[in-house]
């Protein structure tokens, strides 16, 4: 799997490259800003781009803007955005443009090597990886929408879905039976008025509804 990294700190750029290479990924390019990221994506056609939010020249949200451009121009490239802070407004921007093959993680998570590589694989495979903090922030904001109708347990399940976990993953996390999880998931779809089409699609819709994007 080919990956392009955009990160302005040399230290982290090299560290990430080493970690991903060790993890069996191919790092096609590692660049320090958004502009070079777009060129690298055009040149290498990677499967995944790992993008830091705050990069030169303005040191604000270049990463998010570059990610949105990539999603528009190269919809096949999966996006994993790393940020020093979880900001709801960045996450909302990203998630309203991308519903699959997208991740938004706190930069700290790279230090949990196995979890991070797992998230990389999941996003590259078309899944989502949202930082628990992102999810928590997006959840707390909405008090007066359909999510309210969910029981606390169902909300918990939805939160895990938003973090990108499969049913199996949820079973592990909650320590309950697979049939129980399936029941929660069905209830969630029902309460959020999601028609029974492909399950994966409904999962994404449920998460998006939950995120209010």
């Amino acid at each position: 799997m080919r990956i392009v990294i955009a990160e302005d700190s040399v230290l982290l750029r090299d560290g990430l490259t080493r970690m991903l290479t060790d993890g069996g990924f191919e790092v096609a390019a590692a660049v320090p800003d958004g502009e070079q990221l777009l060129r690298a994506v055009a040149e290498h056609g990677p499967d995944l781009a790992i993008v830091d939010v705050r990069m030169p020249p303005t040191h604000t949200d270049e990463g998010i803007r570059a990610a949105l451009v990539i999603r528009r121009q190269y919809p096949d490239v999966a996006l994993l955005v790393l940020s020093q802070y979880v900001e709801e407004s960045y996450a909302t921007d990203l998630l309203s443009a991308a519903t699959s093959a997208v991740g938004y993680l706190l930069k700290d998570r790279v230090a949990h090597v196995a979890d991070f590589l797992d998230a990389v694989r999941r996003v590259a495979a078309g899944g989502t990886a949202l930082d628990p903090e992102v999810v928590a922030q997006l959840l707390v904001r909405r008090h007066d929408d359909p999510i309210e109708r969910l029981t606390p347990r169902e909300q918990h399940v939805l939160r895990l879905m938003a973090e990108g976990r499969s049913n199996t993953g949820i079973v592990e996390a909650l320590n309950v039976s697979p049939s129980a999880v399936e029941k929660y998931v069905t209830n969630i779809f029902l309460k959020l008025d999601l028609p029974p089409t492909g399950t994966d699609h409904r999962r994404v819709l449920a998460v998006l509804k939950y995120l209010g994007t």
Binding site: S9, L11, L12, G15, L16, R18, M19, D22, R54, H59, T60, D61, Q84, Y85, V86, E87, E88, S89, Y90, K107, D108, V110, A111, H112, V113, A114, A136, Q137, L138, V140, R141, H143
Partner: protein
């Protein structure tokens, strides 16, 4: 050339000084520095007074003539009457110009001859509506008073002082022109000497009067001086607030670009070591695991600290985005309402952000609330921030446990804002903040 003149001047000064040491005070006064200064000023004041007399006299006579003619019905019929009316109406305007011009002249004269700097106070000339505004200001009348006064002090006092200096000229005329009787000639020589000796004191007296009246009438009044001071103070305080803000932003940026990245890198390396060194001895593995956990903890603490210093999102995306992050991170449900069509300045945004941040921390710590509401509304040139909670109330602004609330009030006061707290026992607590923003 300039140096040459300076040297010459210096020589004269030195020789004058050497003479000074030997001469009695009355004689010494004739060429001492205060006398030179006073005489120069008196001469300049005399010239300025001549200008004042001419200008004020011209305006006064024309105005009076027009008014008088109007009262006694003009001979020339309507066209003349219209001219007189126009003149009468234009009088105050012309007088205002004369007063302003004379004030400027006198200020530069006082600066040149006495080194006296008189700050202009409120700019009476800029007061609206023109020309009523300037005439309503007390300073305009003070200035007029000074110019009328100079007609007397400047002309009479100045004339007298200069006249005393010129007494020897009159003596020479007298001695050369007539047929002086020896006794009379002797007496007039003595009288001339007395007059010349009196000249320095007369010039000094005139200058003293000039100085005192100028300070009283052309300088700022007490209230104007206070106004000036308040203006200076509030400007410098705004600068301090801005500078503090910029400094926090700089530190935030430095920490973000430096320490934080380095710490992430360290944690990542430790994480990789932890994952890879499965074959190492157990105590070594434990040490790495501990170091990794510590690094993660430090990272998380540093992140909270940096965010408390200055949230980057406030710069990037404004108050609404920053507050929504704040509301989301609060340990209790927060309903947020932001209606800010026109963004305030960066300093005001930062104050509003930190007030909400501290208020929510307080609510979480002390209020035992289940719910909080934050409303931020821009109301023309005010930013209104209201934080409400359904807790137990009883919050004291300056009490022992209210240091957080006092901090909020100080933050608001630093930008001329106000903060009111209503917190009856049993709640609800409402903190209302008003921050002025220039539109």
């Amino acid at each position: 050339m300039v140096t040459c003149w300076d040297d010459l001047y210096l020589d004269v000064m030195i020789s004058a000084d050497m003479t000074t040491r030997r001469a009695p005070a009355v004689i010494r006064a004739l060429w001492s520095a205060p006398t030179r200064r006073a005489t120069g000023n008196t001469l300049a004041a005399l010239l300025a007074a001549v200008a004042a007399t001419l200008l004020l006299g011209l305006v006064g006579v024309v105005w009076w003539a027009a008014g008088w003619s109007l009262l006694h019905w003009p001979v020339g019929g309507w066209s003349h009457a219209a001219l007189y009316i126009a003149t009468v109406l234009a009088g105050p305007v012309a007088l205002l110009w004369v007063v302003q011009a004379l004030t400027a002249l006198q200020r530069s004269r006082l600066h040149a001859t006495l080194g006296l700097d008189l700050p202009a106070g409120t700019r009476a000339a800029a007061l609206k509506p023109w020309p009523v505004g300037p005439w309503r200001a007390a300073s305009t009348w003070h200035q007029l008073g000074f110019h009328v006064l100079t007609v007397f002090t400047g002309l009479i006092g100045g004339g007298l002082a200069i006249g005393l200096w010129l007494a020897p000229v009159a003596l020479i005329y007298y001695l050369a022109g007539g047929h002086p009787v020896p006794g009379a000639a002797c007496a007039s020589a003595v009288a001339t000497a007395a007059l010349v000796l009196a000249a320095p004191w007369c010039a000094r007296l005139v200058t003293r009067v000039d100085e005192v009246t100028a300070v009283a009438l052309l300088g700022p009044s007490r209230s104007e001086a206070l106004e000036l001071r308040v203006e200076t103070l509030s400007r410098s305080r705004a600068d301090i607030v801005k500078a503090t803000d910029a400094e926090r932003r700089r530190i935030e940026r430095d920490l973000h670009d430096g320490t934080q990245q380095r710490l992430v890198s360290l944690a990542m390396n430790l994480g990789m070591a932890r994952a890879r060194l499965t074959g190492a001895p157990p105590d070594a593995r434990q040490a790495i695991a501990d170091a990794h956990d510590e690094a993660m903890l430090a990272l998380s603490e540093l992140r909270d600290f940096i965010r408390g210093l200055h949230p980057a999102v406030l710069n990037d995306r404004g108050l609404a985005a920053a507050l929504s992050g704040l509301a989301a991170r609060a340990p209790l449900p927060v309903h947020l309402q932001v209606e800010v069509a026109q963004p305030a300045s960066a300093s005001i945004d930062a104050v509003a952000y930190f007030i909400v941040s501290e208020a929510l921390t307080n609510v979480a710590k002390h209020a035992q609330a289940t719910y909080a509401e934050v409303a931020v509304v821009r109301d023309s040139d005010l930013l209104r921030v209201t934080i409400t909670d359904d807790g137990r109330g009883g919050a004291v602004p300056a009490g022992s446990d209210g240091s957080g609330l006092r901090g909020l009030a100080q933050r608001a006061a630093a930008v001329d804002g106000t903060l009111t707290i209503s917190s009856p026992m049993g709640g609800p607590t409402v903190i209302a903040v008003e921050l002025p923003c220039e539109s």
